[in-house]
């Protein structure tokens, strides 16, 4: 152990570990081990002297912190911000991105303490993190800069003071939407003097969430205009394909891109790793969790600070358990390994972040909660347990490893999910693929109308105002017809007793959390689980894992949102089995689409946790099961669907299973095209294949952002989501499937009706997508990887499409030439 610490200091630790991993798997069976290594060379720092406009107190603070110059992107952002430009800053994790907005803003506040700035963070935790960072500045700036967070946790009695005194307010879009804008008169001082709006982690605002944010900002700008202010926007984003475009669409103004990274970095290796095959007949690979454990140890044993990302909370906790066990007898003890995920108490999270920054931890196993910009400093190694589902997210996670001076490494350990297998077996595809685009559609009618109500509540809507690109007069006329607005000589006024912002949630997930109470000794709250994952994780008899400790759930108080647990020593963990069905409630419209039928209407999506499996740690054996009777989660939403008639499918010269694979593949590709056409995000649009009957008892397949489970590590992949293919096998008699694309928001957010309208375009473009994809038999860019849709999936999907699209009307509005 001691010698490895020395090795780390000499900078050969990472290389040594990589060499060992490569060596160890040299002799493994074919198609196992390291499949690709990409070398990213070191980068020199590009420094600039402090800008002349930088206020002396700030220069002094920087010098005290040992900073004598700025990175080029920081200096550039400072100058552009001073010129009044809106900015989007895109530089890697840990490149000092926050300086890009903090410096110009603190500079303005030092010059003019009356000026105000508003910071928007996607989560409360990020706001807290930034508050801590800013307090380091403001403590030395004296009374002039008064920084506060304003969110659901802000005590009532502090709110008044914050409203009038704070000149730097940190909040989140939800609070701005429900708490600040509808009460803007109380924030008169802020709005009158509003100079800057900062939007951190802009890339998180994609799809419906981003469309909501764009509308909230339309409202913000209206209010600011009312008070005579015109704020400037500084935004930051992780690497996505279109940051500038996304920023422009969200703030609806010109934006300057700052993406020339001046921060130095040491050389870095990105390694793709596929667990070796243990059963060549069945093609079963070693569990990716066990492999992640072994690989992480290779790094940790050398004293390398390592972050391990897992895709679910369960996988996270299993890995924590394993690694703590491994380190129980190591000199540092098990406490150098911690877990980190949403659901830990805020204080605990702050502590882990601090310990990580200060090097007190050796390893942390995290979910995507640490993917966002929380400052934990640079680490030596990032290990990704399974492909995170998107290229952007992969690089974001990999970016957590990165030292200024020494070598670092990121390693992706593939699960046996088809997507993972495709990625590691096709490294050129993986490394060559640009990060995803982020789309928003602020003019989505339903979203726009909702925010128009809020806007009218905040200030009457003038006749000559614009709000988005749709015809405002017509929209207000509609809201008047349905009784929300009244038209007077000076515009439209809100005439309803309701408070519209309360009824409009910017996010699909309920903020209703379950609290976990540990009754082992004196009852104490140890964590929380958000509503959607509560039933699968803290149902009665579940083993709840937190930071590697095991708790048996004794009682779930559903109504009071509490789970009572007891610490136990268990050899197994539990994995819930949930079941989802989709049911057609009402068809609003239906029309033929060739021999097929397209429809849109209201559906009910029910999810229920029906039981659980007990799975032994280490061997992943199934050692038991239990049944549960938990309340069903029901969501009414809207959907667009295509019914493929039995006769048509039957006419195709393929086996039933091949037909099902084809339908599955077609659904995947349709979802990809649909998200592009309505500019939403994959997480906004659920996809499901069901039997065309009044009630569809069909298990939901991979729903967009979750890869299907591998058989070996299935326990950790999610909550029993993907059993689609098996499910469909039973539907062989008169197979007449519906391909559903539904809004994954309760009540729907207005994606289905446009999809119905654009149905021809959806189908036609789906056909082109599949047809022109260079892959042989399917890949994640079209119908999905072969592992999911079979060898014939692509072929059958195309055959189905040529039946439908070939016959359709000629004047397809969405015809694109490639």
């Amino acid at each position: 152990m001691e010698s490895s610490l020395v090795a780390k200091k000499e900078g050969i630790g990472v290389l040594g570990a990589l060499e060992e991993i490569r060596e160890r798997f040299k002799g493994s069976p074919l198609r196992g081990g390291v499949t690709a290594v990409k070398h990213l060379p070191a980068r020199e720092a590009r420094l600039e002297p402090f800008p002349t406009a930088l206020a002396p107190p700030l220069v002094e603070i920087l010098r005290q912190r040992g900073i004598e110059s700025l990175y080029s992107h920081q200096a550039c952002a400072f100058e552009l911000a001073r010129e009044g430009k809106n900015l989007v800053v895109v530089t890697p994790t840990a490149s000092g991105k926050t300086f890009c907005y903090n410096l110009p803003i603190l500079n303005t506040l030092v010059e003019n303490p009356e000026a105000r700035a508003l910071y928007l963070f996607p989560t409360k935790a990020l706001a807290q993190d930034q508050l801590a960072e800013l307090n380091r500045w403001t403590a030395r700036l004296g009374d002039e800069v008064r920084t506060f967070t304003y969110d659901g946790d802000t005590p009532q009695d502090a709110r008044r003071a914050i409203r009038s005194r704070a000149n730097l307010v940190m909040t989140n879009p939800d609070m701005l939407h429900t708490g600040i804008l509808p009460h803007h008169t109380k924030w008169e001082r802020l709005f009158e003097n509003l100079r800057y709006v900062v939007i951190d982690e802009l890339h998180t605002y994609r799809g419906v969430f981003g469309s909501h944010l764009a509308n909230v900002l339309r409202r913000l700008k209206r209010i600011a205009r009312f008070y005579g202010a015109r704020p400037q926007f500084i935004t930051t984003s992780a690497t996505i394909a279109n940051p500038e475009d996304l920023a422009r669409r969200i703030i609806e103004d010109e934006v300057t891109l700052v993406d020339e990274n001046g921060a130095p970095s040491g050389e870095k290796f990105f390694v793709l790793y596929n667990p070796p095959v243990v059963n060549p007949q069945l093609g079963i690979r070693r569990s990716y969790l066990n492999e992640t454990r072994r690989i992480s140890r290779t790094f940790l044993d050398r004293g390398l600070e390592t972050i391990i990302f897992a895709n679910s909370r369960l996988a996270t906790e299993i890995l924590v358990t394993y690694l703590k066990e491994d380190f129980a007898r190591a000199p540092f003890g098990p406490d150098v390994i911690r877990g980190y995920r949403g659901g830990y108490l805020p204080l605990e999270r702050r502590e882990i972040e601090r310990d990580l920054r200060e090097g007190r931890l050796l390893g942390v196993v995290a979910t995507n909660a640490l993917e966002l910009g929380i400052d934990v400093g640079g680490l030596d190694v990032a290990v990704l347990a399974a492909y995170p589902g998107s290229i952007a997210s992969t690089w974001q996670r990999a970016g957590r490893a990165g030292r200024r001076q020494t070598t670092s490494a990121a390693m992706l350990v593939a699960s046996s999910a088809p997507v993972d297998q495709f990625m590691v077996e096709n490294p050129d595809y993986f490394f060559g693929r640009s990060p995803e685009h982020a789309y928003v559609n602020p003019d989505n009618l339903q979203i726009l109308l909702n925010h128009l109500k809020c806007a009218a509540f905040e200030l009457p809507l003038g006749e000559d105002e614009t709000f988005g690109s749709l015809d405002l007069t017509r929209l207000c006329g509609h809201l008047e017809e349905v009784g929300f607005l009244h038209r007077s000589a000076d515009g439209w006024h809100w005439v309803s007793e309701s408070y519209p912002a309360d009824g409009i949630s910017l996010r699909s997930v309920s903020s209703d959390n379950f609290v976990i109470v540990d009754n082992t000794a004196q009852p104490r709250v140890i964590g929380e689980v958000d509503f959607s994952s509560a039933l699968p994780t803290v149902h009665e008899k579940a083993i709840y894992l937190q930071d590697g400790r095991q708790y048996h759930v004794e009682r779930l108080d559903y109504d009071d949102r509490k789970a009572y647990v007891h610490a136990v020593e268990s050899e197994y963990f539990t994995d819930a089995i949930s079941y989802t069905k989709i049911k057609m409630l009402e068809t609003f419209d239906a029309a033929p689409a060739g021999p097929a039928v397209k429809s849109h209407g209201e559906v009910q999506v029910n999810t229920q946790v029906v039981g659980f499996k007990k799975i032994k740690f280490g061997t992943m054996e199934n050692v038991g099961a239990g049944e549960l009777a938990l309340p069903e989660q029901e969501m009414h939403t809207t959907a667009y669907w295509v019914t493929l008639p039995h006769a048509m499918l039957h006419g195709l010269a393929y086996s039933n299973i091949q037909r099902q694979d084809g339908v599955r593949g077609l659904a995947n590709a349709m979802q990809a095209i649909a998200t592009l056409l309505v500019m939403c995000d994959a997480r906004d649009l659920g996809v499901s294949v069901g039997e065309n009957r009044a009630t569809n008892e069909s298990p939901i397949a991979a729903d967009g952002d979750h890869a299907p489970l591998p058989p070996g590590g299935g326990a950790a992949g999610g909550e029993g989501r993907a059993r689609s293919i098996n499910g469909l096998v039973s539907l062989v008699v008169a197979f007449e499937p519906n391909i559903y694309l539904y809004d994954k928001y309760p009540g729907g957010v207005g994606l289905s009706e446009p999809l119905y309208r654009l149905s021809e375009s959806v189908l036609e473009n789906t056909r082109k997508l599949i047809e022109r994809c260079p892959c042989v038999a399917g890949c994640p860019s079209c119908v999905g990887p072969v592992g999911e849709v079979g060898e014939k999936g692509k072929e059958v999907a195309l055959a189905i499409l040529s039946c439908i699209v070939g016959v359709g009307s000629g004047n397809d509005p969405g015809d694109v030439s490639f």
């Binding site: 509808p182 009460h183 803007h184 008169t185 109380k186 008169e188 394909a241 640009s434 685009h437 789309y439 559609n441 003019d443 009618l445 339903q446 109308l449 009218a456 509540f457 905040e458 200030l459 009457p460 690109s469 749709l470 015809d471 017509r474 509609h478 017809e481 349905v482 009784g483 009244h486 007077s488 000589a489 000076d490 006024h493 809100w494 005439v495 309803s496 007793e497 309701s498 408070y499 009754n519 004196q522 009852p523 108080d557 609003f588 809207t638 592009l676 056409l677 309505v678 500019m679 729907g748 009706e753 654009l758 375009s761 473009n765 082109k768 997508l769 022109r772 969405g814 694109v816 490639f818």
Partner: protein, 528 residues
């Protein structure tokens, strides 16, 4: 990635070309989804407010506004009062409810009540009818400002500012959290200065609640009006109906539904004024030695006739810092007789009044009485008695007696100390909170070690002795108590220890003295 780019452009073009026809179709679809069936009347009826409400359109520098005026002669009866009482009453007792300021005389007071488009607050809620009431000459005048349509709001607010000019004080019901902030928001939205800052404001809601909550099940304005003033409204609309009536008027222009709204508002204002008179009267009459400078109240019926109101008054006096009045009023309430649970509260309240004023004897007499009452109070009383005997009477034996009585009470029932019962409602299971035993053992420790010891900061010894006593009592463990180590804190070693020693020796206590001497034998203070 060409495909994605192209699709994006396509979509962008498609969004731009959402023509009217398509928008209509989407809106139609939304109507179907929202199942809007209510066909809203859209036809405008030309007959305006003037046709139904006696009032007129006036003009100021901000434009036109509608206002109505109504005058009630002083002689008109209003429940058990007369309108004129508003002008004649002495409001100085109401100063008790203000922190630092004092209310002006009746002629400089104005009453305000608003009718709004909702109760949620925020910038989208609007006051469409603002009523003011004030005594003028020999009449009580109610003036109402009505928003015929939104563009007239600025003129209406300017008129309100103007109308408030002669007054120095304003009385509302729930105005502190509702009406005034709402109007302030309206002024802010109109970019006009709010007139309320300079006015002394009394919100009657809290005084009325404090005075009548014990006696009446509801302290809503209409309920108080019925119960306290003896006024019965007829043909009135409920507050919940008002926004709907106004919205219908806005949509149709038909003002025929507005009459009840104006009526409701003016009654609220008159009630507000009458309630102020009654509140001032009760406070004044409750004042034991007669309220100075007021002759009218005697005419109005003299004494406060409800013992519950008297007890409430006592608490009001206490809150306002008039301690002497608080005590005497409470005594009078007790003398008149109170229902059992309130009586207990009154006694306890009274005892604390005495205690605060260092009148320990009467306080102890009350605690002795309460020690025989139901358990929760008895425990509190016994605890107080123990403290009293320990600290005031310097009689630790008696103090111990009371502690033991309390412990016996606790032993009678295994349920936890009620003081912590609320914790269970918060989801903490029973058995967690420290019971009375723990709580009292703590005082016992202090008592056992001698309050004097504690007061001399020899807390180390106190705690150690306490721990030994606890062990002895629990386990009868003779050995345990002998193992106690006395570690004298260096800063209090010396003379102080000597004092304590002497004191403990001077007052040997049957149980604890043994222990103390045992300790002292083992570890004799060095100077002895």
């Amino acid at each position: 990635m060409n495909l994605e780019e192209k699709l994006r452009q396509l979509q962008h073009a498609a969004a731009k070309s959402v023509n009217d026809r398509e928008l209509e179709r989407q809106l139609e679809y939304l109507r179907r989804r929202e199942r809007v069936e209510r066909a809203l009347p859209a036809k405008r009826v030309p007959r305006g407010v003037e046709a139904y409400i006696e009032g007129e359109v006036a003009t100021n520098e901000r434009g036109d506004y509608f206002h109505a005026r109504q005058a009630l002669p002083f002689g008109r009866p209003y429940g058990k009062l007369r309108i004129g009482d508003v002008a004649l009453a002495d409001f100085s007792p109401l100063d008790l409810f203000l922190k630092e300021s004092r209310l002006p005389g009746p002629s400089e007071l104005v009453y305000l009540d608003t009718e709004t488009t909702g109760l949620m607050g925020g910038t989208g809620t609007c006051a469409f009818l603002i009523g003011l009431g004030a005594a003028e000459g020999s009449q009580f005048v109610v003036r109402q400002f009505f928003l015929r349509d939104y563009p007239e709001e600025k003129a209406m607010l300017a008129a309100l500012t103007e109308a408030l000019t002669p007054y120095k004080g304003i009385i509302t019901f729930n105005g502190r959290t509702f009406d005034l902030p709402l109007l302030e928001t309206r002024y802010a939205l109109a970019r006009m200065k709010s007139p309320f800052e300079r006015l002394i404001h009394l919100d009657l809601l809290h005084p009325a609640r404090r005075l009548w909550k014990l006696r009446l099940e509801s302290c809503q304005l209409t309920h108080l009006e019925q119960q306290v003033l003896g006024v019965r409204r007829q043909g009135d609309v409920t507050g919940a109906e008002l926004p709907g009536i106004y919205f219908d008027y806005l949509r149709t222009g038909n003002a025929s539904g507005l009459q009840p709204v104006f009526y409701h508002n003016s009654l609220d204002i008159i009630t507000l004024a009458a309630l102020s008179v009654e509140l001032a009267r009760v406070v004044s009459n409750g004042w034991s030695d007669g309220w100075t400078g007021d002759d009218e109240s005697e005419e109005n019926g003299g004494a406060v006739d409800s013992s519950l109101d008297l007890f409430s008054l006592s608490r009001i006096f206490e809150r306002a810092g008039v301690r002497g009045q608080a005590v005497s009023t409470c005594r009078r309430a007790l003398k008149m007789g109170l229902p059992e649970p309130v009586e207990v509260r009154a006694l306890l309240h009274l005892s604390y009044q005495h205690k605060r004023q260092r009148e320990y004897e009467p306080a102890a007499a009350i605690w002795t009485e309460l020690a025989g009452r139901e358990r929760e109070v008895a425990l509190t009383a016994l605890e107080e008695l123990a403290i009293y005997h320990e600290h005031r009477r310097r009689d630790p034996h008696a103090a111990l007696e009371f502690v033991e009585m309390a412990l016996r009470q606790v032993d009678k029932s295994s349920s936890p100390y009620p003081r912590f019962a609320h914790r269970r409602d918060q989801g903490v299971p029973a058995g967690w909170e420290p019971g009375i035993r723990g709580h009292l053992e703590e005082s016992l420790e202090n008592l056992g070690a001698g309050g004097a010891v504690v007061e001399r900061h020899l807390d180390v010894q106190a705690q150690t002795i306490g721990a030994a006593q606890r062990r002895e009592r629990r386990y009868g463990d003779e050995a345990a108590r002998l193992q106690v180590e006395v570690r004298t804190r260096p800063d209090v070693a010396g003379q102080e220890v000597g004092d304590v020693t002497r004191e403990i020796r001077r007052e040997p206590r049957p149980r604890f003295a043994n222990l103390a001497s045992a300790l002292l034998t083992q570890h004799p203070p060095q100077h002895l």
